[in-house]
């Protein structure tokens, strides 16, 4: 059982998704229940990964390795370490919430909708587990298809534009990564093993070219300034559940790519181009946060805030400090909870009012007190208030960056202030104040289902904020190992 745990984590949701698809859209209620069952089962399968995880080693655990395409030397090779484990769990956990949260507000083609999310869950877990370059790429790309359909079929008015932009942007980013992976194949004795790549000596020019190819793929996915323009479009047009998965998990994949591929495979180029990465991260933190302030559409505002938060993550990577990198990983996890919650909160409002314009609201707290309280918590998390998960990650990144160059910290810290301003201003305008619009007065507070979803996320936001130790324990050994690896030059003598 333990030996194929990762395979189960990947294939249970995919096979389950196909079953849901087979149920058909006519039996919507059955499809919903089956999807919930599958997502719970898929989550249950990933829990032993946590309980059975050995925190003392940086080696890959739960490994599986089977020949897949012998002619091209491609293996079905899976494994998790401290860096990827949390993302596997985050994915399977959030999919359960996504299924529950879409229970009512998706009424057309229900089975297809649920199936797309389940299949996508399997593929996303595949990305975090794959240790073979081609397997990684297959999952990385395949996941675009369900997301393309989710935005395009269930999205808003400009969905076609947004989804094609999303697809082409990401596709363009990743094909260059494919060329880099193929290039590496011939410099590592014909192997597609990512772990072998980590020990392949490479000259500086080759490293820089490979770094750029990886960078394009990951920067688009994260997204980093200036290739972030697809994200606000995709978020605004995507259905709530699509936004949740996009923000909470897909964005993390780009960052994960930096950790798994860029840093260990091309360490010298990473050091050499770190200034550029730090610069882009700081621009994301400061400039994109300023852009977020002026947004009228709540989803767009949170989308820009996601880009700014991911700026902290990339900043943490490229100061090459173990505290900062651990902080980045915690920040990714925390953003997974908080951005998911923020989008769900906006979804709650949208379901009732069918608009996301901030001006249409005001005084929501008067009629929806429970909702306002929960959203307050997430807003505080988004700001990075101590006690919430948002604080831990950002604090560690700023701390780590300070040791390298105080200016990085000072500039990044201004991002915290702008972050506070756009989040609190949004909150003030939408939730507080008197009721101006009669529609708002008629709003009903959260029902049990919504409370369950948001309450769970609130619990995790607080848990990670108050007691991050169990989360950090898992990450620690792998990050130490990574930092040691990046410090060693790979240029052949």
């Amino acid at each position: 059982m333990n030996a194929q745990l990762l395979s189960y984590s990947i294939w249970v949701p995919i096979v389950g998704g196909l079953l849901v698809l087979a149920v058909g859209d006519r039996r919507a209620q059955l499809a919903r229940w089956l999807a919930l069952l599958v997502s719970l089962l898929a989550f249950a399968v990933t829990i032993p990964l946590y309980t059975g995880f050995d925190t003392h080693t940086a080696a890959m655990q739960f490994s599986e390795r089977v020949a897949w395409i012998p002619s091209l030397n491609i293996y079905y090779h899976l494994g998790v370490d401290g860096i990827s484990l949390w993302f596997v769990l985050l994915t399977s956990f959030l999919t359960v919430l996504v299924v529950i949260s879409s229970w009512r507000n998706v009424q057309t083609r229900v089975a297809q909708f649920m199936a797309a999310f389940l299949i996508m869950e399997g593929m996303m877990i595949g990305v975090f587990c794959a240790l073979d370059a081609i397997l990684f790429y297959v999952f990385w790309e395949a996941m675009l298809i369900p997301m393309f359909l989710i935005i395009g079929v269930w999205g808003g008015p400009r969905r076609v534009y947004a989804t094609i932009k999303f697809f082409l942007y990401t596709f363009l980013g990743s094909v260059l990564m494919l060329v880099a992976l193929l290039y590496l194949y011939f410099h590592s004795n014909n192997s597609f093993d990512l772990l072998v790549y980590q020990h392949t000596p490479l000259g500086m020019t080759a490293q820089i070219l490979i770094f750029i190819a990886f960078f394009v793929a990951f920067a688009v996915k994260i997204p980093m300034w200036p290739v972030h323009t697809w994200l606000p479009d995709a978020h605004v047009e995507a259905p709530t559940a699509g936004s949740v998965v996009l923000a909470a998990i897909m964005l993390k994949m780009g960052a994960y790519g930096f950790l798994r591929l860029s840093l260990p495979i091309v360490p010298d180029a990473s050091h050499k181009l770190a200034w550029l990465m730090i610069l882009l991260s700081l621009i994301a933190i400061i400039y994109v946060a300023l852009v977020a302030i002026v947004q009228e559409d709540m989803k767009k505002l949170v989308a820009y805030s996601s880009i700014a938060h991911m700026g902290f993550v990339t900043l943490g990577f490229f100061v090459f400090d173990s505290v900062a990198i651990e902080g980045s990983i915690i920040q990714m996890l925390s953003h997974g909870f908080i951005s998911a919650a923020m989008f769900l909160c906006i979804g709650v409002l949208y379901d009732r009012m069918h608009t996301r314009n901030i001006r249409a609201y005001g005084g929501v707290a008067n009629v929806m007190p429970i909702f306002a309280a929960l959203m307050m918590l997430f807003a505080m998390g988004n700001v990075g208030l101590p006690g919430t998960s948002g604080f831990v990650g950002e604090f560690m990144v700023v701390l780590g960056a300070y040791q390298v160059n105080p200016w990085f910290s000072i500039l990044a810290a201004t991002g915290l202030i702008t972050g506070a301003s756009y989040t609190l201003w949004l909150f003030k305008r939408a939730i507080f104040g008197g009721i101006v619009h009669p529609e708002v007065a008629a709003l009903k507070d959260l029902d049990l289902r919504e409370m369950l979803v948001l309450g769970t996320l609130a619990a995790f936001t607080l848990l990670l904020g108050v007691w991050p130790a169990p989360f950090l324990d898992i990450v620690h050994s792998s990050v130490q190992h990574l930092v040691a690896q990046v410090a060693v030059s790979k240029i052949p003598a």
Partner: protein, 485 residues
């Protein structure tokens, strides 16, 4: 036994197909209108029989009829895939032909003769046999394209194809004759041996190679020799287009194998340069012009040009792995276009060809299963995993990077992204657009056709299944190219 007749058994599949083609022709003539179904049934039996006969030959290799005929793993594998391609065309054919009043035995006879042409090309060991096979194929194709006499566009396409095809055959033949003059032999293996002593900058040799490559490029549909392709693909009855995009491409690939690899591998560096140019032009022309198309058949024709560009990347690599990956790409391309054109066939009905992209509007609501299949086909053509189209591209990129042409691979992937756009557009039309208000099951029914529908489902699902387990098919293609270098 006479040395000439030694190994005559190598020709048994060809002899079988030839005899059966005559049987089908006669049987159809005598049985007449009411027992028309006999012709396709006999054709299917012929193909199955040929597959069994070829299957028994696997593992043997050698020459027969004084080197006129070659048997190696490539022959076997390419023949098996050709049978499969023709089989699918036959399975798709019945209702489509009936709806247009051209359900006649001759079409199956022509298909069998075309298949025979492909088989001769695949197993040809001398310039003469290869040319003979090529002409047999080409003449059957001209007739097939113009088969629907009452259709103006089909007749026009037939004539266009004939004139340009004859020109290409002429080019090829001229190149062959120069090669013969230079080496004094028609046997490709002797040519290879004789070329060792020829200086690669020899003017006659260069001329010969240029003409041969141009002829092959025409048959394959590589730009800038692709001009006939969109017009013929669009004008021909969709069933014939389906066929044109299948077995004949295997035949065209056989030309590369026999003439350029078996015969001209020593001259690799000379023709490699020409192929690099062909690849680049095909990739750019195919993928860019396809964006502008409103007609799906025409779009798929330009996408064919693009696919030829991708598969030529494997040829450019010039290594055993490169040729194998190009062959794999060819097979995958054949499977994809059989499915793509098969979908158009299936949605067409009497008096209506579902060939405009707009005809696919809202298909996801009208017929979700077909829309799902088309989704697989389009993503496979775009080369998005987990469909088999991705591995085809992966294999050629891998080969071309191994040969040191990283820049070609970079251009290739960028054009693959551009290509993704027009495939996505079809998906967009099917899934995101609503059907036109005047299109409903009353005035625009999707005609029920269980046989073709089942074939299409198998065909499209194969693209997905092969994408999850591509190992065996790829190993098969690598096996096929074992004996070649």
């Amino acid at each position: 036994m006479n040395a000439f007749l030694l190994h005559w058994t190598f020709a048994i599949p060809e002899i079988w197909v030839l005899s059966m083609a005559c049987v089908v022709l006669l049987a159809d003539l005598y049985l007449g209108e009411r027992l028309r179904d006999v012709a396709p049934v006999l054709t299917v039996l012929t193909l199955l029989g040929a597959a069994v006969l070829t299957f028994f030959e696997i593992g043997q290799s050698g020459t027969a009829f004084a080197g006129q005929l070659l048997l190696d793993p490539f022959t076997n594998v390419a023949e098996l895939f050709s049978y499969l391609a023709v089989l699918m065309v036959v399975l798709y054919s019945r209702r489509y032909l009936m709806d247009r009043g051209i359900y006649r035995g001759e079409i199956y006879v022509l298909l069998l003769f075309a298949l025979l042409g492909v088989m001769v090309m695949v197993s040809g060991g001398s310039l003469l046999t290869i040319y003979l096979g090529l002409e047999l194929l080409a003449l059957s194709q001209y007739a097939l394209v113009a088969f629907h006499r009452d259709s103006l566009s089909a007749t026009e396409a037939g004539l266009k194809y004939f004139v340009l095809g004859a020109l290409a055959s002429g080019l090829l033949l001229y190149g062959m004759s120069l090669l013969y003059g230079l080496t004094g032999t028609l046997d490709v293996r002797h040519i290879a041996a004789a070329l060792v002593n020829v200086n690669s900058s020899n003017l006659i040799l260069v001329f010969a190679l240029v003409f041969i490559v141009a002829g092959i490029a025409f048959k394959l549909g590589a730009a800038p020799f692709h001009m006939w392709l969109p017009d013929v693909y669009q004008g021909a009855p969709t069933l014939v287009t389906t066929f044109l995009a299948s077995a004949p491409k295997i035949g065209a690939f056989a030309l590369i194998v026999r003439l350029l690899i078996d015969g001209g591998y020593g001259m690799l560096e000379s023709w490699q340069q020409i192929f690099i140019a062909l690849t680049l032009v095909s990739l750019v022309v195919g993928n860019l012009i396809a964006i502008a198309q409103q007609n799906l058949k025409r779009m798929l024709a330009y996408s064919t040009v693009g696919h030829v560009g991708f598969l030529s990347l494997g040829i450019v690599a010039g290594t055993a792995a490169g040729f194998a990956s190009a062959f794999f790409y060819t097979i995958v391309y054949v499977l994809m276009s059989l499915a793509g054109f098969g979908m158009i066939l299936l949605l067409s009905r009497a008096g209506f060809e579902a060939e405009r992209i707009d005809d696919f509007k809202g298909l996801a609501q009208r017929k979700p299963w077909y829309a799902f299949l088309m989704l697989i086909i389009m993503f496979s053509m775009a080369g998005v995993p987990p469909t088999v189209g991705f591995y085809a591209k992966l294999a050629v990129f891998q080969a071309v990077i191994a040969a040191g042409y990283v820049w070609l691979a970079v251009i290739g992937v960028l054009l693959a992204v551009i290509g993704a756009f027009y495939y996505l557009r079809v998906v967009k039309v099917m899934f995101f657009d609503a059907p036109d208000p005047d299109v409903d099951s009353e005035n625009a029914p999707i005609v029920r056709d269980d046989l073709a529908s089942a074939t299409l489902s198998m065909n499209s699902l194969a693209l997905l299944v092969l994408g999850i387990v591509p190992g065996p098919l790829m190993a098969f293609c690598f096996y096929a190219m074992q004996g070649v270098i």
